[in-house]
């Protein structure tokens, strides 16, 4: 399938070299400059500042003191930190494949042309993306509840006792459901847009060759949208490692289940804003950033390698 370019995850085709123009013209910078300036202020500067912060410790007496890599050794031995990392890793291992799998199935179903009311399905399943995480979590939080919620209704209507979805054993799965609800449609749209780009002549040729629908999916459609799948996976990994909004908004309803070190992001937030440990918080954030990038990079390598 060398004729197909992944529609995302590859550098957009470079402009054809402008004929007879100075190739090293600086005009482009005039247009790109504003973006780069703000980008440097809100992305690059904080990263540099963060690294600087992580090398110091703020003491009650004596102020800021250079401590080298002490903060890092402390983090590597910090059970609260690794507990949080383990939790998001578990979340990642279960929620991301489930969400992307459903999104892929929906995209393939939409693309197959075998549905009644296709555009209705497409827009409806995408809609939760427009719902803020705050509202999504509040809604599901109410619905999970046994008092006002649907769980309570089901219990009384059918005379059953469903497990408390906000209890420590269930709360991670409950959060997984909220995140899946929010982003399944968004990922579906990424896959669907990628599928639309595959020339239909390929399917026709395959059908003439006697290929069935499953064969077409396996041998043409999936390889054609591999780039989109890799990108969606990477974004979902980053999202999982950054998990904060849903647990933090759900916390008032589930104080016993969601601790302030529930996820690494929650932990850095608590360290910084409740504990005033800015230096250590920056260190934890950097380690988490490095872990995220390593995992994202590994996925990208693996996803791109199998190119036939």
């Amino acid at each position: 399938m060398t004729t197909l370019q992944p529609p995302v995850a590859a550098e957009p085709r470079p402009a054809p070299p402008p004929a007879k123009r100075d190739r090293r013209s600086w005009t482009g910078w005039g247009f790109l400059g504003p973006f780069v300036a703000v980008f440097a202020l809100v992305f690059l500067a904080p990263i540099v500042y963060s690294i600087y912060l992580s090398l110091f410790r703020n003491q009650l007496i004596g102020g800021n003191r250079f401590v080298g890599l002490d903060n890092y050794t402390r983090a590597l031995q910090d059970d609260a930190f690794w507990g949080a990392v383990g939790r998001v890793a578990l979340f990642l291992a279960v929620q991301v494949p489930l969400m992307l799998g459903i999104a892929l199935l929906v995209a393939l179903a939409l693309d197959s042309g075998r549905l009644y009311g296709k555009s209705f399905f497409r827009i409806t399943i995408f809609l939760p993306y427009a719902v803020p995480a705050v509202v999504a979590t509040l809604m599901w939080g109410f619905m999970y509840g046994t008092k006002y919620g649907l769980v309570g209704d089901i219990n009384s209507a059918f005379g059953v006792t469903l497990p408390d979805l906000l209890s420590p054993g269930w709360v991670l799965a409950s959060i997984g459901n909220i995140v899946t609800w929010e982003f399944v449609g968004y990922n579906m749209l990424i896959f669907y847009s990628a599928l639309r780009v595959v020339p239909t002549s390929l399917y026709e040729a395959a059908e003439i060759d006697g290929a069935g629908q499953w064969r077409i999916i396996r041998s043409i459609k999936l390889p054609a949208i591999r780039g989109a799948i890799v990108i969606a996976t990477i974004f979902s990994i980053i999202g999982s490692f950054q998990l904060f909004n849903e647990p933090s908004i759900l916390r008032p309803l589930a104080l016993n289940s969601i601790t302030t070190d529930f996820t690494p992001n929650f932990y850095t937030y608590s360290l910084s804003f409740n504990g005033q440990q800015h230096n250590y918080s920056a260190t934890v954030a950097i380690i988490m950033g490095v872990i995220t990038m390593i995992v994202a990079y590994a996925v990208q390598l693996r996803g791109m390698r199998k190119e036939a």
Partner: protein, 307 residues
């Protein structure tokens, strides 16, 4: 195009698809009821929470407690709830709505402008450092927001920007995804010959951009604007860190404050207002997505169309 019939026999075809497949013309597949039913279940999962929200925004605080979640209570209190949402606590909800509009107008509007300018430059100009920009921006997308949030807060706090609208607006101005989308889109939508022609006629770069490029970029701009609007409208983490004064809260932060005040001792329990406020918060965005459907979907697809 291959004419060989035996090249790749289907290993497994879905039952029932095998015979009709030969009859229908390729590209016009038969509708499938089973598949439609499965998708309807998916839609059910998607809309049940939204239906729940609509139904429950018609209930009073008491009605919430003693009626089923997916049916109406005796009283229909939607209009009272809307009125109370806007009048509670001296009308702070209206203030949050205006704040959100301000953050979206300047943040999402600015982010779109910067992304359009930058994407156009990356797609249509060769200049020193072009490839480096690609590497840095894509790399930065992978940096978790957490790693940035705390140092950004401390930096802004030194600059005296925290607890002001700027602390929310400035970081919203950068959308790497918007830049990427605009770049792909501009590369496809603007024929280089057209730009050359305009320059040949003596138009300045600025004039060429506004009169030749900008109209061609319209569907891409709508798409990027919609996605940056969602990002800003729904933003929670950034304002949570940056803002202390409730007068500067956006809707998201305000709603979560209303919701958690039930937990504080002596706090007013106003779940009916939380629910009605949530409904009012999501309606504008859902309306925007529905009404602008044609534009943003073509904008998403057009950037990557082949053939």
């Amino acid at each position: 195009m291959s004419t060989s019939v035996t090249a790749s026999p289907a290993k497994s075809a879905a039952p029932g698809l095998r015979t009709p497949r030969k009859k229908h013309t390729p590209g016009k597949p038969r509708r499938n009821v089973l598949l439609t039913v499965l998708m309807a279940l998916m839609v059910l999962y998607t809309v049940v929470p939204l239906i729940w929200l609509v139904i429950n925004s018609t209930k009073t605080q008491a009605g919430l407690a003693d009626s089923g979640g997916l049916w109406f209570a005796h009283d229909f209190a939607l209009w009272d709830n809307v009125r109370d949402t806007f009048t509670y606590h001296d009308g702070i909800f209206g203030r949050w709505l205006l704040n959100t509009l301000l953050y979206v107008g300047l943040g999402a509007g600015g982010a779109t402008l910067l992304a359009v300018l930058g994407g156009y430059a990356l797609a249509k100009f060769q200049f020193p450092g072009r490839r480096a920009v690609f590497a840095v921006v894509i790399g930065a997308v992978a940096v978790p927001g957490t790693a940035l949030a705390v140092p950004t807060f401390l930096m802004f706090s030194k600059m005296g920007l925290t607890d002001t609208p700027w602390a929310v607006i400035i970081p919203s101005l950068v959308s790497p995804f918007g830049l990427y989308l605009m770049w792909v889109f501009a590369a496809e939508a603007i024929p280089t010959e057209l730009l050359e022609a305009a320059r040949m006629d003596g138009a300045s770069e600025v004039r060429t951009f506004f009169q030749v490029a900008l109209p061609l970029l319209a569907p891409g701009i709508v798409t990027v604007l919609l996605f940056t609007t969602v990002a800003t409208w729904n933003n929670y983490f950034l304002p949570l860190i940056m803002l202390k004064d409730p007068d500067w809260y956006p809707l998201t932060l305000g709603l979560s404050a209303w919701s958690s005040q039930a937990q504080t001792i002596g706090g007013d329990v106003i779940f009916n207002l939380v629910i009605t406020g949530s409904l009012l918060t999501i309606l504008p965005l859902i309306a925007a997505f529905l009404f602008l459907q044609k534009y943003w979907q073509s904008g998403l697809a057009a950037g990557s169309v082949k053939e």
